[in-house]
Each structure stands twice: as C-alpha cells, then as structure tokens.
C-alpha cells in the first residue's frame, strides 16, 4: 500500500500541467459550490430574519377562523379583547403587540399626485407604543418620524412611496370596509418613510396607528392579530403549546412563523434543491474532467500497465493505484477549491453582491432587498472538500476498468 501511495503521487508529477488544469477545474467547481452555498445560506438566513422582523414575528395569535379566511382580511374574525391577552402573555414574560390588517383601496388624488389613481392595499394598523418590541420597523425609518397614537397618519414603504410618488406630507385616502361591512374613507398624512429590508413589505407597506383604525373601522378595540416575539434562539414550535394554554376558551389559535411562512419555506426548500443541482453540475464538471484526465493518463501508460500485470500485479492493486492518483488530483483540487472558496466567502460575507436591480421589481421569494450577503457554512466547506476527493476517486474507476479489459499482450504491444 505504501508503494501504491508513493507511486500514485509520483504519477501525478508526470504531467504537471494536466494535473494542475484538472485540479483547477475541480477547484473552480468546489469554490463555486462553497461560494453559492454561502450566498444562498446568507440570503436564507437574512430572509428568515426579515420575515420574522417584518412579516410574521415569531408567532401570531389569531381568531380560530381567521387563517383560512386570511385572503379576505376579515375584520370580524378578530380578537375582541387583545389587551387582556397581551396582559396575560406579559404575566408569562412574553412580549406581544396587537395589530389590525385591513384590506382596502388606496385612493390618490390628482392634486397630490398629479394624476388620479387607486390601487389595492393592505393597511397594517399597529400599536406605536409596543410594535417595535416585536417588529423592527422603527430602525428602518429613513425620513420623517414614526407613528404616534391616534393620529390620521401613515408610514409607507420606501419602494411603495417611490412607486406612487408619495412624500412626507402627502395625503392619501384609504377606502376600506369597516367592521360589519360599511364603507369608510380615511384620509392619512404620510409622516414617515420606512426602508424595510424585506422587499415584499417595502413594496406594499402602509401603516397607521391602531387607534385610528379602531375608530374609523369600528373595531371596538378588537385586533385581527397579536404578534409575539420569542428569543431568536427559541424553538418556536416547542413554545406554542404553553402559549396556546393561555388562550384556551377565547377561540384563539397561536401559529408559529414557520406555519405562516410555509410558502416561503417551501420555496427555500426548493432553492436548496437548486443548490443540489449546482452540486450535481459541479460533480459533472469534476467527473468529466477527472475521467478525461485519467483516461489520458491510463492510455498513455498501457504498456507499463502490461508490464505490471505481467509481473503479477493484481487488477485490484492497479485499480487502487489509479484511483489513488485520481484522489490525489481531487485532493489538490479540493485544497485549492477550499482556499478559493474561503476567499470568495470573505467577499460575499463582508461585501456581498448587489442584486437590487432584480429585487426591486421582481419577487424572487427571498426577503432581502438586494445585497446578498453570505454566511459561513463550515459544513459545506468540509463536504465540498471531501466530495472533491471522493468524486475524483470514484470517477477513475471506469477508465481503469476499460484498460484492465485489454489482454496483456495487447497492452505490451501498445504504442
């Protein structure tokens, strides 16, 4: 065995250029894999954070019937006494805030916007005093101020503002249906613009104070949802039963963010499948490169092979020798690839790539605005390293086999 190893490594030095080129191809593949994985991993990590910070919170309490009717944003399937529930949660050390989700039309007048127009909106009524304990909107304010209780004012997502041409001080009208079904029009002054890192939110966000919605839409203090913040490290699903316990008898359900973001998570899952595709592609590159190189290496040495077989070297040992040689190329490629991958990771993690030109107008599922920043994923680096070696080794099997199928006299006659 010791001989086989030294032999394999010495063989690598026969055609240094070819060895380096093949290893280089593997290295590029491994680097790409590490890099893309880090990028998607970062995007996913940030997406999940932005999802929890700006869309779902950690968990949400809803009326039992709300979720299945959520498309209609029903105001009557509500939580009638949200403050009681919030107090109860507070006694148990759980931070929560109430909200109302309102479906309506945003009416834009020509005096304010140069042109009359209307578009469907979902208005979120928040409790300005507690919302930022659960969500993180206050940090995203780029212009104006945050909401105060009970004012006819609104905050708007910066992309949304850009799209409709709204500025601080603009007045908009929301035409909505109040609790029960009556029409109500609410005139709102834009007092703040939020640049929410979650593009889905930034594209559509319109926020008003809870009390304002309560008054105009006759909510009688009811909220459509109570959002809960749990520690980032908490296993949300594990904590739900205890929270549900607190809600019993009120026809309320608590849902985890994972249940609410099922679509996103399914998408993320699919994207992970995409990463699998990349891995597969890299496998192909490595496989083709390696098998080609090994084929060349083997056919250049058919006579040597004949000599070794004549001297009684078994097929198994010959196979091991070639596979070790391929493993050597794989090792070289893996080392180079991991080094390059780590360098690329430093870039994607610390600098990132700006995809905002795509993200601005297209929803690709990720809840990030544009700059893809990676995250370290040591698991992938280790896997990529060993995969490079393993794939190379295995791929050498076939061409070796082909050479071993030749009879020995033919090998010896080979030019």
């Amino acid at each position: 065995m010791k001989f086989l190893i030294t032999f394999a490594f010495k063989n690598l030095t026969r055609y240094k250029r070819r060895t380096l080129i093949t290893a280089g191809a593997i290295a590029v593949g491994i680097m790409m894999y590490i890099f893309i994985d880090a990028m998607l991993m970062g995007a996913e990590y940030e997406s999940v954070r932005n999802l929890k910070w700006y869309e779902t919170a950690s968990a949400r309490i809803l009326n039992d019937e709300y979720w299945e009717n959520r498309q209609q944003l029903p105001l009557d399937l509500s939580i009638s006494d949200p403050d009681k529930i919030i107090d109860r949660l507070d006694e148990n050390g759980i931070i929560a805030t109430k909200r109302i989700s309102i479906g309506g039309d945003l009416i834009l007048s020509s005096q304010e916007f140069g042109e009359d127009g209307n578009l469907p909106v979902t208005v979120t009524a928040i409790d300005p005093s507690t919302d930022n304990e659960v969500f993180h909107y206050a940090d995203t304010l780029i212009e104006g101020r945050f909401l105060e209780q009970d004012e006819d004012a609104a905050l708007i997502g910066s992309w949304f503002a850009e799209d409709i041409g709204a500025k601080i001080g603009s007045w908009v009208t929301v035409l909505a249906r109040g609790n029960g079904g009556f029409y109500e029009a609410i005139d709102l002054e834009i007092v703040g613009i939020l640049n929410c890192p979650n593009p889905n939110v930034n594209r559509t966000l319109l926020m008003i104070p809870f009390d304002t919605a309560d008054y105009y839409l006759a909510m009688d203090g009811a909220a459509t949802e109570i959002n809960i913040k749990l520690s980032d490290l908490a296993d949300v699903d594990a904590e739900l039963p205890a929270i549900q316990e607190l809600l019993n008898g009120d026809d309320l359900t608590v849902m985890s963010w994972t249940a609410m973001a099922r679509d996103y998570l399914a998408l993320a899952e699919a994207k992970r499948g995409g990463t699998g595709m990349i891995l597969f592609l890299i496998f192909i590159i490595a496989a083709v490169g390696i098998s080609n190189t090994m084929l060349m290496a083997i056919f250049e040495r058919v006579r040597e092979l004949g000599m070794m077989r004549s001297l009684g070297m078994s097929d198994a040992k010959i196979r091991i020798a070639f596979m070790l040689e391929a493993a050597g190329i794989g090792l070289l490629g893996s080392i180079m690839g991991v080094i390059l991958g780590i360098v690329a990771d430093f870039f994607i993690i610390n600098v990132g790539i700006d995809f905002s030109f795509i993200m601005r107008d297209m929803d690709i599922g990720y809840r990030i605005q544009g700059i893809f920043r990676g995250a370290w994923n040591p698991g992938t680096i280790v896997i990529a390293f060993f995969a490079g070696i393993l794939i190379s080794t295995l791929v050498a099997y076939l061409p070796t086999n082909r050479a071993l199928k030749m009879d020995i006299p033919s090998c010896l006659r080979h030019q």
Binding site: F7, M307, S310, M313, S314, P409
Partner: protein, 226 residues
C-alpha cells in the same frame, strides 16, 4: 520444468485466421538458457506469451513446475506469474517516474516482503547488474543498456524460476546487446534461473545454450550447443 505439448494458437483478424502456432511441443529444464529464434512473424512472441501465462492457447497444453498453467483461471495465473515468472521486454518498460531502485523494488512490495529485506536485496542486485551508484536515477538519466539492466534486475529480484525475454536486445546496439546477453547468462549461471529469450539476431542466438528455431508457427530445429 516447462512442458509444452502440441500448442496451437490462432489469431482471428476479422475473416482471416492466422495460425501463429501450429502444434508446438517443447520441454525446457530448470536452469536452461534457451533462445527461441526465427524470422519476424514466426510466432516467437506468441510462444513466449503462452509460457508467460499472459495469453490463452487454442489447443495443447502447457505445464510449468508441474502445474497446468494453460487451464488456470485469470487470478491463479496472476498469482503464478507474480511468484514464478520474470519478464524482460524489448522496450524495457520501466516506469519513468520511479528511480532505478524503485523500478526494481516495487516487484518485492507486491510480495509483501519486509522493507529492510527489500532494500538489501534491491541494492545487492542493482550492484550485481552493474548499476551501483545509479540506484536513484530515473530511467531518463540512464542509457538504453542501463535501462535494460534495471529491467533484468526487476525480472530477477524475486528469484523467479523462469525469466522470459522477448527480443531483449532488439533496441540496443550490438555491443550493448552483447553486454546484456552476457549479463543474462551470468545471472543464469549464478542463480540457476531458467532464461527463455526470443530473437531474430544471429549474434544473439550464438549466446544460447539451446536454440529452438521457429518457422511459421512450427519448430524447425532444436539444438543444444553447450
């Protein structure tokens, strides 16, 4: 030692059949230094390949050291070769990335022989074939004759009963070729190893103790000269 009985070997090349050996019978004793001679295409290589257990015959029988090698399976043949047979090739077939020493010693590593013994045996043998001081040269830094000496050492290192050499001097000038033959003969005498070599060179034939003339796949003559 080697019993060849009525061996037939046909090559099929498309439609045509080439009768490379048409009933060759030959007995070779331990320690012989025998040359298989004949013009090109007479079947010398074919016969050596059959004795060397690297080819399969179409008729007849070959027995080496009492074992019927002609009916052995692939694995058994490999094992048999590993232990009993040494080969010397016209084109030396040294491994270019290995040193002279390594080209010889690797044969022993296939036989699981302890390392210090490998070292001693290899160094001794290389000295014996006249390569002292060149043990760590790679083939590219050796002349043709020196390379063939390495090949002879490689064939002998495991102390085989039989060494088969297919035209061992065909790639060498006549002076070097003679030296190689002298070395082979010296080894034959010293180790009592049976040498079977083929040639179509008159000068080479003169070194043989026994000369078998092949023509068209048949033995024309078989004379002992020692």
């Amino acid at each position: 030692m080697i019993k060849i009985e009525n061996v037939i070997r046909d090559y099929h090349a498309g439609e045509t059949v080439v009768h490379a050996l048409r009933g060759v019978s030959l007995d070779i004793d331990q320690g012989e230094f025998i040359s298989i001679a004949g013009p090109s295409g007479s079947g010398k290589t074919t016969l050596l390949n059959l004795i060397g257990c690297i080819d399969a015959l179409d008729g007849g029988e070959i027995e080496i050291k009492g074992e019927k090698v002609s009916t052995m399976g692939k694995k058994d043949k490999t094992n048999f070769r590993r232990i009993n047979l040494g080969f010397i090739f016209q084109t030396y077939n040294l491994i270019p990335v290995l040193t002279a020493y390594e080209n010889v010693s690797f044969v022993l590593s296939l036989l699981d022989i302890p390392e210090d013994e490998v070292k001693k045996r290899t160094m001794d043998l290389l000295k014996e074939v006249g390569l002292e001081g060149m043990e760590h040269r790679r083939p590219s830094r050796l002349s043709g004759g020196q390379q063939q000496r390495v090949a002879i050492a490689r064939a002998l290192i495991k102390n085989p009963d039989i060494v088969l050499a297919d035209e061992p001097t065909a790639n060498l000038d006549s002076k070097t070729g003679e030296d190689i033959l002298k070395l082979m003969k010296q080894m034959n005498k010293k180790h009592n190893t049976t040498f079977v070599f083929s040639t179509h060179d008159k000068m080479v034939m003169d070194y043989a103790d026994r000369l078998v003339l092949l023509h068209d796949g048949q033995i024309m003559s078989d004379e002992r000269r020692a």
